[in-house]
Protein backbone atom coordinates (compact mmCIF):
# COMPACT_ATOMS: atom_id res chain seq x y z
CA UNK A 1 0.00 0.00 0.00
CA UNK A 2 1.58 3.24 -1.07
CA UNK A 3 0.25 6.75 -0.86
CA UNK A 4 -0.06 8.81 -4.02
CA UNK A 5 -0.37 12.58 -3.87
CA UNK A 6 -2.52 14.34 -6.42
CA UNK A 7 -1.23 17.84 -7.13
CA UNK A 8 -2.72 20.94 -8.71
CA UNK A 9 -0.92 21.58 -12.00
CA UNK A 10 -2.09 25.19 -12.01
CA UNK A 11 -2.63 28.08 -9.62
CA UNK A 12 -6.34 28.87 -9.32
CA UNK A 13 -9.30 27.97 -7.14
CA UNK A 14 -11.24 24.79 -6.41
CA UNK A 15 -14.46 24.97 -8.43
CA UNK A 16 -16.05 21.56 -7.89
CA UNK A 17 -15.06 18.44 -5.99
CA UNK A 18 -16.33 15.33 -7.75
CA UNK A 19 -14.76 12.39 -5.92
CA UNK A 20 -15.89 11.16 -2.51
CA UNK A 21 -13.38 10.30 0.21
CA UNK A 22 -13.21 6.52 0.60
CA UNK A 23 -14.24 5.82 -2.96
CA UNK A 24 -12.20 3.81 -5.43
CA UNK A 25 -10.79 5.77 -8.39
CA UNK A 26 -9.33 4.51 -11.64
CA UNK A 27 -6.42 6.17 -13.45
CA UNK A 28 -7.76 9.17 -15.34
CA UNK A 29 -10.80 9.69 -13.09
CA UNK A 30 -11.42 13.30 -12.18
CA UNK A 31 -10.99 14.09 -8.48
CA UNK A 32 -11.90 17.76 -8.67
CA UNK A 33 -12.12 20.62 -11.11
CA UNK A 34 -10.08 23.76 -10.59
CA UNK A 35 -10.82 27.10 -12.16
CA UNK A 36 -7.83 28.88 -13.63
CA UNK A 37 -7.55 31.36 -16.49
CA UNK A 38 -11.34 31.08 -16.92
CA UNK A 39 -10.95 27.38 -17.72
CA UNK A 40 -12.14 24.28 -15.90
CA UNK A 41 -8.98 22.31 -15.24
CA UNK A 42 -9.48 18.75 -13.98
CA UNK A 43 -7.23 17.16 -11.35
CA UNK A 44 -7.12 13.50 -12.30
CA UNK A 45 -5.94 10.36 -10.54
CA UNK A 46 -2.64 9.37 -12.17
CA UNK A 47 -3.04 5.79 -10.98
CA UNK A 48 -5.97 3.89 -9.57
CA UNK A 49 -6.50 3.92 -5.79
CA UNK A 50 -8.75 4.72 -2.88
CA UNK A 51 -9.25 8.41 -2.14
CA UNK A 52 -7.92 8.80 1.41
CA UNK A 53 -8.26 12.51 1.92
CA UNK A 54 -8.92 15.86 0.29
CA UNK A 55 -6.78 18.72 1.49
CA UNK A 56 -8.81 21.54 -0.05
CA UNK A 57 -12.45 22.62 -0.13
CA UNK A 58 -14.59 24.14 -2.87
CA UNK A 59 -13.84 27.83 -3.34
CA UNK A 60 -10.39 27.57 -1.80
CA UNK A 61 -7.36 29.00 -3.60
CA UNK A 62 -4.66 26.54 -4.68
CA UNK A 63 -1.08 27.02 -5.85
CA UNK A 64 0.65 25.18 -8.66
CA UNK A 65 2.24 22.03 -7.23
CA UNK A 66 0.05 22.01 -4.11
CA UNK A 67 -1.14 18.59 -2.90
CA UNK A 68 -4.93 18.61 -3.14
CA UNK A 69 -5.75 14.95 -2.47
CA UNK A 70 -4.12 11.75 -1.27
CA UNK A 71 -4.85 8.31 -2.69
CA UNK A 72 -3.72 4.89 -1.56
CA UNK A 73 -3.33 1.98 -3.94
Amino acid sequence: MSKIEAKAEVTGSVWKILAVVGSRLEAGDTIMILESMKMEIPVMAEDGGTLLALSVAEGEAVREGQVVAVLED
Binding site: E9, V10, T11, S36, M37, K38, M39, E40, I41, P42
Partner: protein, 535 residues
Protein backbone atom coordinates in the same frame (compact mmCIF):
# COMPACT_ATOMS: atom_id res chain seq x y z
CA UNK B 1 37.25 -6.84 -32.32
CA UNK B 2 38.04 -4.69 -29.30
CA UNK B 3 36.08 -6.93 -27.00
CA UNK B 4 38.13 -9.99 -27.85
CA UNK B 5 41.32 -8.37 -26.61
CA UNK B 6 42.76 -9.82 -23.44
CA UNK B 7 42.04 -7.77 -20.38
CA UNK B 8 45.08 -8.64 -18.26
CA UNK B 9 48.67 -7.80 -19.23
CA UNK B 10 49.90 -11.36 -18.79
CA UNK B 11 47.07 -12.65 -20.95
CA UNK B 12 47.85 -9.97 -23.48
CA UNK B 13 51.40 -11.16 -23.80
CA UNK B 14 50.31 -14.77 -24.07
CA UNK B 15 47.49 -14.29 -26.54
CA UNK B 16 47.58 -15.13 -30.26
CA UNK B 17 49.46 -13.89 -33.25
CA UNK B 18 48.64 -10.20 -32.80
CA UNK B 19 50.01 -10.23 -29.33
CA UNK B 20 53.07 -12.15 -30.45
CA UNK B 21 53.82 -9.77 -33.28
CA UNK B 22 52.98 -6.54 -31.45
CA UNK B 23 53.19 -7.37 -27.77
CA UNK B 24 53.56 -3.80 -26.54
CA UNK B 25 50.57 -2.55 -28.55
CA UNK B 26 48.45 -5.45 -27.27
CA UNK B 27 49.53 -4.79 -23.71
CA UNK B 28 48.77 -1.08 -23.95
CA UNK B 29 45.35 -1.74 -25.50
CA UNK B 30 44.57 -4.21 -22.77
CA UNK B 31 45.50 -1.62 -20.16
CA UNK B 32 43.04 0.82 -21.76
CA UNK B 33 40.27 -1.78 -21.62
CA UNK B 34 40.77 -2.10 -17.86
CA UNK B 35 39.69 1.50 -17.31
CA UNK B 36 40.34 2.49 -13.68
CA UNK B 37 40.91 -1.13 -12.60
CA UNK B 38 38.63 -3.89 -11.37
CA UNK B 39 37.97 -2.38 -7.93
CA UNK B 40 37.08 1.02 -9.31
CA UNK B 41 34.82 -0.48 -11.99
CA UNK B 42 33.07 -2.63 -9.34
CA UNK B 43 32.37 0.44 -7.19
CA UNK B 44 30.98 2.21 -10.26
CA UNK B 45 28.71 -0.75 -11.06
CA UNK B 46 27.49 -0.93 -7.46
CA UNK B 47 26.10 2.56 -7.90
CA UNK B 48 23.97 1.33 -10.77
CA UNK B 49 26.17 3.00 -13.38
CA UNK B 50 27.77 1.57 -16.50
CA UNK B 51 31.39 2.20 -17.50
CA UNK B 52 32.09 4.49 -20.42
CA UNK B 53 32.96 1.51 -22.63
CA UNK B 54 29.70 -0.23 -21.70
CA UNK B 55 27.83 3.00 -22.39
CA UNK B 56 29.28 3.44 -25.84
CA UNK B 57 28.69 -0.18 -26.83
CA UNK B 58 25.15 -0.03 -25.38
CA UNK B 59 24.31 3.06 -27.41
CA UNK B 60 25.91 2.70 -30.83
CA UNK B 61 25.22 0.20 -33.64
CA UNK B 62 26.73 -3.14 -32.70
CA UNK B 63 30.47 -3.34 -33.35
CA UNK B 64 30.58 0.14 -34.89
CA UNK B 65 32.86 1.88 -32.39
CA UNK B 66 36.23 2.84 -33.83
CA UNK B 67 38.11 4.24 -30.90
CA UNK B 68 40.56 7.12 -31.28
CA UNK B 69 43.26 7.73 -28.71
CA UNK B 70 43.09 4.37 -27.02
CA UNK B 71 46.71 4.53 -25.91
CA UNK B 72 46.51 7.88 -24.16
CA UNK B 73 47.24 7.87 -20.46
CA UNK B 74 49.96 7.86 -17.88
CA UNK B 75 52.62 5.22 -18.53
CA UNK B 76 54.26 3.62 -15.52
CA UNK B 77 57.84 2.49 -16.01
CA UNK B 78 60.30 0.43 -14.01
CA UNK B 79 63.46 1.94 -15.37
CA UNK B 80 62.93 1.58 -19.13
CA UNK B 81 60.39 -1.21 -18.77
CA UNK B 82 56.70 -0.43 -19.12
CA UNK B 83 54.77 -1.96 -16.25
CA UNK B 84 51.35 -0.40 -16.71
CA UNK B 85 49.27 2.47 -18.09
CA UNK B 86 46.58 4.46 -16.29
CA UNK B 87 44.27 5.37 -19.15
CA UNK B 88 43.27 8.96 -19.80
CA UNK B 89 39.84 9.42 -18.20
CA UNK B 90 38.07 9.97 -21.51
CA UNK B 91 37.06 7.43 -24.18
CA UNK B 92 35.99 8.58 -27.62
CA UNK B 93 35.92 7.96 -31.34
CA UNK B 94 33.77 7.34 -34.37
CA UNK B 95 30.69 5.13 -34.26
CA UNK B 96 27.37 4.80 -36.00
CA UNK B 97 23.83 5.20 -34.71
CA UNK B 98 21.00 4.11 -36.99
CA UNK B 99 23.66 3.37 -39.67
CA UNK B 100 24.84 6.98 -39.71
CA UNK B 101 28.23 8.07 -38.38
CA UNK B 102 28.51 10.06 -35.16
CA UNK B 103 31.35 11.43 -33.09
CA UNK B 104 30.99 10.09 -29.55
CA UNK B 105 32.87 10.31 -26.29
CA UNK B 106 32.58 10.45 -22.55
CA UNK B 107 34.47 10.75 -19.30
CA UNK B 108 35.69 7.60 -17.60
CA UNK B 109 34.57 8.09 -14.02
CA UNK B 110 36.56 5.07 -12.87
CA UNK B 111 39.82 6.94 -13.52
CA UNK B 112 40.18 9.79 -11.02
CA UNK B 113 36.44 10.52 -11.16
CA UNK B 114 36.69 11.53 -14.81
CA UNK B 115 38.55 14.74 -13.98
CA UNK B 116 40.43 16.56 -16.69
CA UNK B 117 43.68 15.14 -18.01
CA UNK B 118 46.40 17.01 -19.80
CA UNK B 119 48.06 15.47 -22.84
CA UNK B 120 49.41 17.24 -25.92
CA UNK B 121 45.89 17.42 -27.29
CA UNK B 122 42.52 17.19 -25.57
CA UNK B 123 40.53 14.04 -26.31
CA UNK B 124 37.16 15.26 -25.16
CA UNK B 125 35.33 18.09 -23.57
CA UNK B 126 35.21 21.55 -25.05
CA UNK B 127 37.66 21.81 -27.94
CA UNK B 128 38.69 18.16 -27.72
CA UNK B 129 39.29 15.81 -30.66
CA UNK B 130 35.73 14.50 -30.36
CA UNK B 131 34.43 18.02 -31.10
CA UNK B 132 36.95 18.56 -33.90
CA UNK B 133 35.78 15.31 -35.50
CA UNK B 134 32.13 16.44 -35.32
CA UNK B 135 33.07 19.84 -36.76
CA UNK B 136 35.42 18.71 -39.53
CA UNK B 137 33.33 15.77 -40.73
CA UNK B 138 29.99 17.44 -39.97
CA UNK B 139 28.79 14.61 -37.77
CA UNK B 140 26.38 14.64 -34.85
CA UNK B 141 28.18 14.80 -31.52
CA UNK B 142 27.16 12.62 -28.59
CA UNK B 143 28.59 13.60 -25.20
CA UNK B 144 28.25 11.01 -22.44
CA UNK B 145 28.94 13.21 -19.43
CA UNK B 146 30.15 11.79 -16.14
CA UNK B 147 32.65 14.15 -14.63
CA UNK B 148 32.91 17.02 -12.21
CA UNK B 149 35.21 19.17 -14.33
CA UNK B 150 38.30 20.92 -13.08
CA UNK B 151 39.83 20.40 -9.67
CA UNK B 152 41.85 22.87 -7.64
CA UNK B 153 44.52 20.18 -7.34
CA UNK B 154 45.63 21.06 -10.87
CA UNK B 155 47.22 24.23 -9.44
CA UNK B 156 49.68 22.01 -7.58
CA UNK B 157 50.50 20.02 -10.69
CA UNK B 158 50.95 22.97 -13.00
CA UNK B 159 52.38 25.52 -10.62
CA UNK B 160 49.87 28.11 -11.81
CA UNK B 161 46.11 28.51 -12.06
CA UNK B 162 44.47 28.20 -15.46
CA UNK B 163 42.48 31.02 -16.98
CA UNK B 164 38.93 29.68 -17.53
CA UNK B 165 38.45 27.93 -20.86
CA UNK B 166 41.56 29.28 -22.61
CA UNK B 167 40.62 27.49 -25.80
CA UNK B 168 37.80 25.13 -26.59
CA UNK B 169 34.41 26.49 -25.65
CA UNK B 170 34.28 28.47 -28.89
CA UNK B 171 34.24 25.11 -30.71
CA UNK B 172 31.36 23.88 -28.52
CA UNK B 173 29.45 27.05 -29.41
CA UNK B 174 30.28 26.76 -33.13
CA UNK B 175 28.92 23.20 -33.21
CA UNK B 176 25.51 24.46 -32.10
CA UNK B 177 25.03 25.95 -35.57
CA UNK B 178 26.51 23.04 -37.50
CA UNK B 179 25.61 19.56 -36.25
CA UNK B 180 23.19 18.01 -33.76
CA UNK B 181 24.77 17.97 -30.29
CA UNK B 182 23.27 15.54 -27.79
CA UNK B 183 24.38 15.41 -24.16
CA UNK B 184 23.55 12.71 -21.64
CA UNK B 185 24.29 13.42 -17.99
CA UNK B 186 25.18 10.01 -16.56
CA UNK B 187 26.56 10.89 -13.15
CA UNK B 188 27.13 14.01 -11.12
CA UNK B 189 28.04 16.85 -13.46
CA UNK B 190 29.31 20.17 -12.20
CA UNK B 191 31.42 22.94 -13.66
CA UNK B 192 32.63 22.51 -17.25
CA UNK B 193 30.85 19.20 -17.95
CA UNK B 194 27.60 20.69 -16.58
CA UNK B 195 28.05 23.70 -18.83
CA UNK B 196 28.68 21.42 -21.77
CA UNK B 197 25.45 19.53 -21.06
CA UNK B 198 23.59 22.80 -21.59
CA UNK B 199 25.52 23.60 -24.78
CA UNK B 200 23.51 21.02 -26.65
CA UNK B 201 20.46 20.78 -28.85
CA UNK B 202 18.99 18.13 -26.62
CA UNK B 203 19.98 16.76 -23.23
CA UNK B 204 18.87 13.86 -21.09
CA UNK B 205 19.66 12.62 -17.59
CA UNK B 206 19.00 9.40 -15.69
CA UNK B 207 16.67 9.10 -12.72
CA UNK B 208 18.37 8.37 -9.37
CA UNK B 209 21.93 8.23 -10.72
CA UNK B 210 22.56 11.64 -12.20
CA UNK B 211 22.60 15.23 -11.03
CA UNK B 212 23.65 18.47 -12.66
CA UNK B 213 24.50 21.85 -11.13
CA UNK B 214 26.84 24.80 -11.38
CA UNK B 215 28.42 23.69 -8.10
CA UNK B 216 27.74 20.82 -5.74
CA UNK B 217 26.60 20.62 -2.10
CA UNK B 218 29.99 21.38 -0.43
CA UNK B 219 30.35 24.63 -2.38
CA UNK B 220 26.72 25.56 -1.71
CA UNK B 221 27.14 24.98 2.02
CA UNK B 222 30.32 27.02 2.15
CA UNK B 223 28.87 29.86 0.03
CA UNK B 224 25.33 30.11 1.36
CA UNK B 225 25.21 27.96 4.46
CA UNK B 226 22.56 25.78 2.82
CA UNK B 227 22.69 22.05 3.49
CA UNK B 228 21.28 20.17 0.52
CA UNK B 229 21.78 16.74 -0.95
CA UNK B 230 23.00 16.52 -4.53
CA UNK B 231 19.65 15.04 -5.56
CA UNK B 232 17.80 18.01 -4.00
CA UNK B 233 20.17 20.40 -5.71
CA UNK B 234 20.38 18.94 -9.18
CA UNK B 235 18.34 15.76 -9.56
CA UNK B 236 15.73 15.56 -12.34
CA UNK B 237 13.06 17.04 -10.02
CA UNK B 238 14.95 20.34 -10.16
CA UNK B 239 17.02 20.17 -13.33
CA UNK B 240 14.31 18.77 -15.62
CA UNK B 241 10.87 19.43 -14.10
CA UNK B 242 11.42 22.80 -12.45
CA UNK B 243 14.33 24.44 -14.25
CA UNK B 244 14.23 22.86 -17.71
CA UNK B 245 18.03 22.85 -17.59
CA UNK B 246 18.02 19.31 -18.95
CA UNK B 247 15.31 18.30 -21.42
CA UNK B 248 14.23 14.72 -20.74
CA UNK B 249 14.59 12.04 -18.05
CA UNK B 250 15.39 8.38 -18.62
CA UNK B 251 14.46 5.68 -16.14
CA UNK B 252 17.89 3.99 -16.46
CA UNK B 253 20.93 4.11 -18.71
CA UNK B 254 19.51 1.62 -21.19
CA UNK B 255 16.40 3.77 -21.57
CA UNK B 256 18.67 6.79 -21.93
CA UNK B 257 20.42 5.18 -24.92
CA UNK B 258 17.04 4.39 -26.52
CA UNK B 259 16.03 8.04 -26.14
CA UNK B 260 19.29 9.26 -27.69
CA UNK B 261 18.88 6.92 -30.67
CA UNK B 262 15.30 8.06 -31.06
CA UNK B 263 16.19 11.75 -30.89
CA UNK B 264 18.95 11.40 -33.47
CA UNK B 265 16.61 9.54 -35.82
CA UNK B 266 14.78 12.86 -36.38
CA UNK B 267 17.95 14.86 -36.92
CA UNK B 268 19.92 15.48 -40.09
CA UNK B 269 23.68 14.79 -39.94
CA UNK B 270 24.31 18.54 -40.12
CA UNK B 271 22.71 21.79 -41.26
CA UNK B 272 23.79 21.17 -44.86
CA UNK B 273 21.57 18.09 -45.13
CA UNK B 274 17.90 17.35 -44.53
CA UNK B 275 16.72 14.86 -41.88
CA UNK B 276 16.18 11.32 -43.19
CA UNK B 277 12.79 10.56 -44.73
CA UNK B 278 11.27 7.20 -43.76
CA UNK B 279 8.49 5.11 -45.28
CA UNK B 280 5.72 5.97 -42.88
CA UNK B 281 3.34 3.09 -43.54
CA UNK B 282 0.57 5.45 -42.40
CA UNK B 283 -1.92 6.67 -44.99
CA UNK B 284 -1.71 10.35 -45.88
CA UNK B 285 -5.50 10.48 -46.24
CA UNK B 286 -6.16 8.96 -42.80
CA UNK B 287 -8.94 11.12 -41.34
CA UNK B 288 -9.67 10.39 -37.68
CA UNK B 289 -13.34 10.84 -36.80
CA UNK B 290 -12.41 11.53 -33.18
CA UNK B 291 -10.83 14.81 -34.30
CA UNK B 292 -14.29 16.12 -35.11
CA UNK B 293 -15.35 15.67 -31.47
CA UNK B 294 -12.18 16.43 -29.54
CA UNK B 295 -12.83 20.12 -28.87
CA UNK B 296 -15.62 20.46 -26.27
CA UNK B 297 -18.53 22.77 -27.01
CA UNK B 298 -17.96 24.68 -23.80
CA UNK B 299 -15.10 27.12 -24.27
CA UNK B 300 -14.26 26.65 -20.59
CA UNK B 301 -13.48 22.97 -20.96
CA UNK B 302 -10.00 21.80 -21.94
CA UNK B 303 -9.18 18.70 -23.99
CA UNK B 304 -6.26 16.36 -24.61
CA UNK B 305 -4.00 18.19 -27.07
CA UNK B 306 -1.41 15.40 -27.02
CA UNK B 307 -4.04 12.98 -28.25
CA UNK B 308 -4.95 15.43 -31.00
CA UNK B 309 -1.32 15.64 -32.15
CA UNK B 310 -0.95 11.85 -32.13
CA UNK B 311 -4.05 11.50 -34.31
CA UNK B 312 -2.67 13.88 -36.94
CA UNK B 313 1.00 12.81 -37.08
CA UNK B 314 2.29 9.54 -38.56
CA UNK B 315 1.46 6.65 -36.27
CA UNK B 316 3.94 6.24 -33.38
CA UNK B 317 6.10 9.05 -34.72
CA UNK B 318 5.62 11.55 -31.88
CA UNK B 319 8.64 12.12 -29.60
CA UNK B 320 8.00 14.71 -26.92
CA UNK B 321 10.79 17.08 -25.91
CA UNK B 322 10.70 18.48 -22.35
CA UNK B 323 7.44 16.74 -21.41
CA UNK B 324 7.63 17.76 -17.75
CA UNK B 325 8.72 21.40 -18.12
CA UNK B 326 6.73 24.42 -19.32
CA UNK B 327 3.73 22.19 -19.85
CA UNK B 328 1.51 24.99 -21.21
CA UNK B 329 3.10 24.17 -24.55
CA UNK B 330 3.82 20.74 -25.91
CA UNK B 331 6.88 20.39 -28.14
CA UNK B 332 7.43 17.22 -30.17
CA UNK B 333 9.43 15.92 -33.03
CA UNK B 334 7.19 13.87 -35.29
CA UNK B 335 6.74 12.77 -38.89
CA UNK B 336 4.16 13.62 -41.51
CA UNK B 337 4.16 11.20 -44.44
CA UNK B 338 7.65 10.17 -43.33
CA UNK B 339 9.09 13.70 -43.23
CA UNK B 340 10.33 15.12 -39.96
CA UNK B 341 8.36 18.03 -38.51
CA UNK B 342 8.49 19.96 -35.28
CA UNK B 343 5.16 20.30 -33.49
CA UNK B 344 4.36 23.11 -31.07
CA UNK B 345 0.92 22.73 -29.51
CA UNK B 346 -0.67 24.79 -26.77
CA UNK B 347 -1.96 22.73 -23.87
CA UNK B 348 -5.37 23.91 -22.66
CA UNK B 349 -5.00 21.71 -19.55
CA UNK B 350 -2.30 24.04 -18.21
CA UNK B 351 -3.48 27.61 -17.62
CA UNK B 352 -5.78 27.29 -20.61
CA UNK B 353 -2.68 27.24 -22.81
CA UNK B 354 -1.48 30.70 -21.70
CA UNK B 355 2.24 31.10 -22.33
CA UNK B 356 4.12 31.41 -19.04
CA UNK B 357 7.81 32.04 -18.69
CA UNK B 358 8.70 28.36 -18.81
CA UNK B 359 6.53 27.61 -21.83
CA UNK B 360 8.03 30.62 -23.61
CA UNK B 361 11.59 29.41 -22.99
CA UNK B 362 10.69 25.94 -24.17
CA UNK B 363 9.09 27.29 -27.33
CA UNK B 364 12.04 29.60 -28.08
CA UNK B 365 14.52 26.74 -27.93
CA UNK B 366 12.34 24.41 -29.99
CA UNK B 367 11.74 26.97 -32.75
CA UNK B 368 15.49 27.63 -32.95
CA UNK B 369 16.21 23.91 -33.05
CA UNK B 370 13.81 23.26 -35.93
CA UNK B 371 14.86 26.38 -37.83
CA UNK B 372 18.54 25.46 -37.49
CA UNK B 373 18.03 21.94 -38.87
CA UNK B 374 15.48 22.85 -41.58
CA UNK B 375 12.62 21.02 -39.88
CA UNK B 376 9.20 22.51 -40.80
CA UNK B 377 7.10 23.60 -37.84
CA UNK B 378 3.43 22.93 -37.23
CA UNK B 379 1.68 25.04 -34.61
CA UNK B 380 -1.53 23.59 -33.17
CA UNK B 381 -2.85 26.79 -31.71
CA UNK B 382 -5.08 27.25 -28.69
CA UNK B 383 -3.49 30.18 -26.93
CA UNK B 384 -5.38 32.86 -25.00
CA UNK B 385 -2.21 34.97 -24.76
CA UNK B 386 0.65 35.36 -22.33
CA UNK B 387 0.12 34.28 -18.73
CA UNK B 388 -1.27 37.05 -16.53
CA UNK B 389 -0.92 37.88 -12.84
CA UNK B 390 1.65 39.22 -10.41
CA UNK B 391 3.74 36.02 -10.35
CA UNK B 392 3.84 35.95 -14.15
CA UNK B 393 4.90 39.60 -14.38
CA UNK B 394 7.58 39.13 -11.71
CA UNK B 395 8.92 36.14 -13.64
CA UNK B 396 9.35 38.32 -16.78
CA UNK B 397 6.72 36.46 -18.80
CA UNK B 398 6.34 39.44 -21.11
CA UNK B 399 10.05 39.54 -21.96
CA UNK B 400 10.44 35.77 -22.30
CA UNK B 401 7.16 35.61 -24.24
CA UNK B 402 8.27 38.33 -26.65
CA UNK B 403 11.59 36.54 -27.06
CA UNK B 404 9.74 33.44 -28.22
CA UNK B 405 7.67 35.57 -30.60
CA UNK B 406 10.83 37.30 -31.91
CA UNK B 407 12.60 34.00 -32.53
CA UNK B 408 9.48 32.63 -34.25
CA UNK B 409 9.29 35.64 -36.53
CA UNK B 410 12.98 35.28 -37.44
CA UNK B 411 12.59 31.64 -38.42
CA UNK B 412 12.79 30.95 -42.14
CA UNK B 413 11.74 27.29 -42.11
CA UNK B 414 8.16 26.68 -43.38
CA UNK B 415 5.66 27.12 -40.55
CA UNK B 416 2.10 25.79 -40.67
CA UNK B 417 -0.47 27.38 -38.38
CA UNK B 418 -3.47 25.25 -37.45
CA UNK B 419 -5.84 27.16 -35.20
CA UNK B 420 -7.77 24.69 -33.08
CA UNK B 421 -9.49 27.14 -30.77
CA UNK B 422 -8.07 30.36 -29.36
CA UNK B 423 -5.45 32.45 -31.13
CA UNK B 424 -5.00 35.73 -29.33
CA UNK B 425 -2.55 38.54 -29.03
CA UNK B 426 1.19 38.45 -29.48
CA UNK B 427 1.41 34.81 -28.44
CA UNK B 428 -1.01 34.06 -31.30
CA UNK B 429 0.99 36.13 -33.76
CA UNK B 430 4.09 34.16 -32.78
CA UNK B 431 2.57 31.01 -34.28
CA UNK B 432 2.58 32.27 -37.87
CA UNK B 433 4.98 32.05 -40.81
CA UNK B 434 5.83 35.69 -41.37
CA UNK B 435 8.90 34.98 -43.54
CA UNK B 436 7.19 32.41 -45.70
CA UNK B 437 3.84 31.45 -47.17
CA UNK B 438 2.01 32.39 -43.96
CA UNK B 439 -0.47 29.56 -44.44
CA UNK B 440 -2.99 29.60 -41.63
CA UNK B 441 -5.68 26.96 -41.53
CA UNK B 442 -8.36 26.83 -38.88
CA UNK B 443 -10.92 24.49 -37.43
CA UNK B 444 -14.53 25.74 -37.18
CA UNK B 445 -13.98 25.99 -33.41
CA UNK B 446 -11.33 28.69 -33.98
CA UNK B 447 -11.55 32.21 -32.66
CA UNK B 448 -9.01 35.02 -32.72
CA UNK B 449 -8.33 38.62 -32.05
CA UNK B 450 -6.09 40.91 -30.09
CA UNK B 451 -7.58 39.58 -26.87
CA UNK B 452 -10.42 37.22 -25.86
CA UNK B 453 -13.81 38.93 -25.97
CA UNK B 454 -14.77 38.18 -22.38
CA UNK B 455 -11.59 39.79 -21.13
CA UNK B 456 -11.83 42.85 -23.33
CA UNK B 457 -15.48 43.90 -23.11
CA UNK B 458 -15.41 45.25 -19.56
CA UNK B 459 -12.49 47.56 -20.37
CA UNK B 460 -13.50 48.64 -23.88
CA UNK B 461 -17.17 49.34 -23.08
CA UNK B 462 -16.76 50.57 -19.51
CA UNK B 463 -19.00 53.65 -19.82
CA UNK B 464 -21.66 51.85 -21.85
CA UNK B 465 -21.81 49.10 -19.23
CA UNK B 466 -21.72 51.47 -16.23
CA UNK B 467 -24.60 53.58 -17.61
CA UNK B 468 -26.85 50.59 -18.31
CA UNK B 469 -29.80 49.83 -16.05
CA UNK B 470 -28.45 46.30 -15.56
CA UNK B 471 -24.65 46.51 -16.13
CA UNK B 472 -24.05 42.73 -15.90
CA UNK B 473 -26.68 41.93 -18.48
CA UNK B 474 -25.41 44.76 -20.76
CA UNK B 475 -21.91 43.29 -20.58
CA UNK B 476 -23.21 39.85 -21.62
CA UNK B 477 -25.25 41.47 -24.42
CA UNK B 478 -22.18 43.22 -25.86
CA UNK B 479 -20.20 39.97 -25.58
CA UNK B 480 -22.89 38.12 -27.56
CA UNK B 481 -22.95 40.80 -30.28
CA UNK B 482 -19.19 40.70 -30.69
CA UNK B 483 -19.04 36.93 -30.61
CA UNK B 484 -21.43 36.69 -33.55
CA UNK B 485 -19.02 38.84 -35.57
CA UNK B 486 -16.06 36.74 -34.42
CA UNK B 487 -17.04 33.67 -36.46
CA UNK B 488 -13.91 32.33 -38.21
CA UNK B 489 -15.93 32.07 -41.44
CA UNK B 490 -16.15 35.87 -41.57
CA UNK B 491 -12.34 36.10 -41.44
CA UNK B 492 -12.15 33.41 -44.14
CA UNK B 493 -14.44 35.55 -46.36
CA UNK B 494 -11.81 38.27 -46.12
CA UNK B 495 -9.00 35.71 -46.77
CA UNK B 496 -7.58 36.75 -43.41
CA UNK B 497 -7.20 33.07 -42.73
CA UNK B 498 -6.43 30.90 -45.76
CA UNK B 499 -8.76 27.98 -45.02
CA UNK B 500 -11.28 26.62 -42.58
CA UNK B 501 -11.17 22.83 -42.63
CA UNK B 502 -13.06 19.91 -41.22
CA UNK B 503 -10.82 18.81 -38.31
CA UNK B 504 -10.61 15.34 -39.86
CA UNK B 505 -8.90 16.82 -42.92
CA UNK B 506 -5.97 18.19 -40.90
CA UNK B 507 -3.57 15.35 -41.65
CA UNK B 508 -4.05 15.15 -45.45
CA UNK B 509 -4.03 18.95 -45.77
CA UNK B 510 -0.75 19.33 -43.85
CA UNK B 511 0.92 16.33 -45.52
CA UNK B 512 0.16 17.80 -48.93
CA UNK B 513 1.89 21.09 -48.12
CA UNK B 514 4.80 19.51 -46.23
CA UNK B 515 5.48 17.18 -49.19
CA UNK B 516 5.36 20.18 -51.53
CA UNK B 517 7.80 22.15 -49.34
CA UNK B 518 10.60 19.58 -49.75
CA UNK B 519 12.02 21.34 -52.82
CA UNK B 520 12.26 24.60 -50.96
CA UNK B 521 13.87 22.86 -47.99
CA UNK B 522 16.43 21.12 -50.21
CA UNK B 523 17.39 24.40 -51.86
CA UNK B 524 17.75 26.49 -48.71
CA UNK B 525 20.13 24.30 -46.71
CA UNK B 526 23.10 25.55 -44.74
CA UNK B 527 23.77 27.66 -41.71
CA UNK B 528 21.37 30.38 -40.70
CA UNK B 529 22.93 33.63 -39.65
CA UNK B 530 21.06 35.42 -36.90
CA UNK B 531 21.02 39.20 -36.83
CA UNK B 532 19.69 41.62 -34.30
CA UNK B 533 19.30 41.51 -30.56
CA UNK B 534 16.79 39.21 -28.91
CA UNK B 535 14.48 41.16 -26.61
Amino acid sequence: MMNSLPTHPSEALAAGADAASLPELSFRRAQAEQLGGAASVARHHEQGRLTIRERISGLVDEGSFQEVGKLTGQGHYDGDKLVGVTPAPYVMGLASIGNRPVSIGGEDFTVRGGTSWSGDRKKGGQGGFVEDLAHQYRLPLVNLIDGAGGSVTSINRRGHSVFPGVHGFERSVQLMGEVPVVCAVLGTAAGGPAGRAILSHWSVMVKNTSQVFAAGPPVVERSLGQKVTKEELGGPGIAVDMAGTIDNVATDEKHCFELIRRYLSYMPQNVWELPPVVQSGDRVDRCEDALARIVPESRRKPYDMKKLVRMVADQDSVFEIQPSFGKAVITCLARMNGKVVGVIANNPMIYGGAIDVRAARKQTHFVELCDCFHIPLIFFVDVPGFMVGKDAEAAATLREGMRSVYVGLQATVPIYTVVIRKCYGMAGMGTTDKNGLDLKIAWPSAEWGSLPIEGGVAAAFRKDIANAADPKSREREIEAELRALASPYRTAEAFGVEEIIDPRETRPYLCRFIDAAQGRLQTTLGQKPKFGVRP
